[in-house]
């Protein structure tokens, strides 16, 4: 039988396709590390700019018109105050919603509505949450530009993230655990409190800490609420005005003097270190306590 295959042609084409594959693999790889390289470059620039400006005095001083004296103390403490509202409010709301949706809700229209609503809320720009907070908390409820008003606004902003993380954590608890608990005579609520929640807690906490770190870095809603940047005292209660780290950085970035860019860079390093610490705690919790069923 005659061989109909044109072997040289096949070889040539095959080679071309293999070369194409190799070249594109290289391009895809380059694209993947592109973002990481840019990130490394930008971060190293910021750290270089911060050197010499980031010291004990910077952490321990209030904002100032003179760049050499400016510090991030009120922003750092303000961000911690903010967390004191955001952490409990958003965690209780988020976990409660997740328990309801996963354990109690019947499959009906209203449940579907809540679920769709949560994913839609996650897509609402943060600045729009700022407008909500400005109207409802700052003006209607008369909370002013306080820690409480900002904390409640931020809680609503990160709520969808916490709900979704908590739902996933609850879903990962195997059904057998619940059934074993029922078999021992426990009621539904007892089962949720003593079996499901303890098992799901590490996953919930990991998701929640990641959400909190988003709240720490979020600037736009605070700007819209009118939270001041130039504050030379620390808040004494949740009804006092305050300022937060990202706001300080925003303020310094916008100043015309060259020196304030260094101050802003120092502020960014403090903010990023803070976020890295929070994320490490989340990873630690995940690795240490998460059980695989």
């Amino acid at each position: 039988m005659e061989n109909k295959l044109d072997k040289p042609l096949v070889w040539r084409r095959m080679k071309g396709r293999l070369v194409q594959n190799a070249v594109l693999q290289a391009i895809f790889f380059a694209a993947t590390i592109f973002g990481l390289i840019v990130l490394a470059l930008l971060l190293s620039r910021v750290i270089m700019q911060a050197i010499g400006w980031l010291d004990g005095d910077f952490l321990n001083s209030f904002p100032s018109r003179r760049p050499e004296e400016a510090g991030i103390k009120s922003g750092l403490v303000g961000s911690l105050w903010l967390m004191m509202i955001v952490a409990p409010v958003s965690f209780i709301l988020g976990v409660g919603t997740a328990i309801y949706l996963e354990e109690y809700a019947r499959k009906n229209r209203f449940t579907a509505l809540i679920q769709t609503n949560i994913s839609n809320l996650a897509g609402v720009p943060s600045i729009v949450f700022g407008l909500l907070g400005l109207t409802v908390f700052v003006r209607e409820l008369g909370l002013g530009r306080s820690v409480l008003a900002a904390g409640l606004t931020m809680s609503l902003l990160v709520l969808p993230v916490i709900v979704v993380a908590a739902q996933e954590a609850i879903r990962a608890v195997p059904q057998q655990l619940r059934e074993a608990s029922y078999a021992m005579g426990a009621t539904k609520w007892q089962t949720i409190c003593r079996v499901v929640l303890p098992a799901a807690l590490p996953g919930m906490l990991t998701g929640a800490i990641l959400a909190f770190s988003r709240a720490i870095g979020e600037t736009a809603p605070l700007v819209v609420l009118g939270i001041p940047t130039f504050i030379a005292y620390l808040p004494g209660s949740v009804l006092d005005t305050f300022t937060a780290m990202p706001l300080q950085i925003y303020n310094w970035t916008g100043r015309p003097q060259e020196e304030f860019q260094h101050v802003a860079a120092a502020g960014i390093v403090v903010l990023l270190v803070f976020l890295i610490l929070m994320n490490s705690v989340a990873v630690l919790i995940r690795n240490k306590f998460q059980k695989r069923f």
Partner: protein, 317 residues
């Protein structure tokens, strides 16, 4: 029966029954109260959405009492501070937003998609385990930090290449926003592509296809719904992004498509008004709600579209 415990010695049987009943009473009450309480918490999320909707709606209506809706939609001038020739045409803010979003997507779509293909089709399990968390770090950096990058590092660099570039421009924040969105597109697209079953890949490989041909002609079409949804979510994210454009984009609402010029986006306008001292009750104060409403409607439609596409066009295996 073993040795009686302390409790049994102290109580008679009758007392123990009574005590048990009292405890059960509490259990029963909790059993009834808990779902109601949790339902309230869950319903609150709906309330938040309604809250956003109504706040924006009421204040926007107040704005349209003062400024005609026709002017808002059709005028090409946004001059809220001009007392005599004040004009509220939202078009310049929309073009500013579209400009930065367009630049961001031109960078983020090809690179994000290429990363997704690499991670899902080429990378070993080990490489993936290193690169994915690193990309998540990129996504976790606060936007104000990206804004700082854009203004103090990227813009001066670009000015060396394009001497005409203004200090505030659309190009630099657009590019930085693109870098910010890469991990989002990469991760969502990778999820969609990883969900394509291996048997389909192996079928194509067995027919002699190269890995690239498998990725382009088999995996990508199968994962198209998820990939397109990730693009739409990326657009929605870019449209709502605030701090990068507020820091590096400038505050001159011009009806222009020139990327080297200073522009203003919808979000940056809201920032400008709220950092300034436009008094409560002025037309400018109400204008931020109309702008916010525009933003809200646009991002909501985008998100619903993304959900629709990923749900309806998904191929089930």
């Amino acid at each position: 029966m073993g040795v009686p415990t302390k409790k049994e010695q102290q109580f008679s049987v009758r007392e123990m029954i009574v005590e048990n009943q009292a405890r059960q009473h509490w259990t029963k009450r909790m059993e009834k109260l808990a779902p109601k309480f949790l339902f309230t918490l869950a319903a609150l999320s709906v309330l938040v959405m309604l809250g956003i909707l109504f706040t924006l709606l009421f204040e926007t209506i107040e704005f349209f009492r003062r400024v005609s809706i026709v002017e808002f939609v059709t005028s090409k001038e946004w001059l809220p501070w001009n007392e005599e020739h004040g004009s509220f045409g939202v078009a310049p803010l929309v073009t500013g937003t579209l400009l930065t979003t367009g630049i961001a997507m031109l960078l983020a779509v090809p690179i994000g998609l290429a990363s997704a293909i690499y991670l899902s089709e080429y990378a070993s399990e080990r490489t993936r385990r290193i690169i994915k968390p690193a990309l998540e770090v990129l996504a976790g950096i606060p936007t104000i930090v990206y804004g700082f990058f854009a203004l103090t590092i990227v813009t001066p660099l670009l000015q060396k290449v394009i001497p005409d570039l203004e200090i505030f421009n659309a190009l630099s924040p657009g590019l930085v926003m693109g870098i910010m969105i890469i991990p989002m597109i990469a991760s969502l697209s990778e999820d969609a592509m990883s969900a394509v079953p291996n048997s389909i890949r192996e079928g194509a490989l067995a027919l002699g296809a190269t890995k690239f041909e498998v990725a382009l002609k088999v995996v990508l079409p199968a994962a198209a719904s998820g990939v397109i949804a990730s693009f739409i979510l990326g657009i929605s994210r870019a449209v709502g992004e605030t701090m990068i454009v507020a820091v590096a984009g400038g505050s001159s609402p011009e009806f222009t498509f020139d990327v080297t010029q200073s522009i203003q986006t919808l979000t940056a306008y809201i920032v400008q008004v709220t950092t300034g001292d436009a008094g409560y009750g002025t037309t400018i104060y109400y204008s931020i709600y109309a702008v916010g409403m525009t933003l809200f409607i646009f991002t909501l439609l985008m998100n619903i579209l993304a959900q629709y596409i990923s749900r309806r066009l998904r191929e089930e295996y």
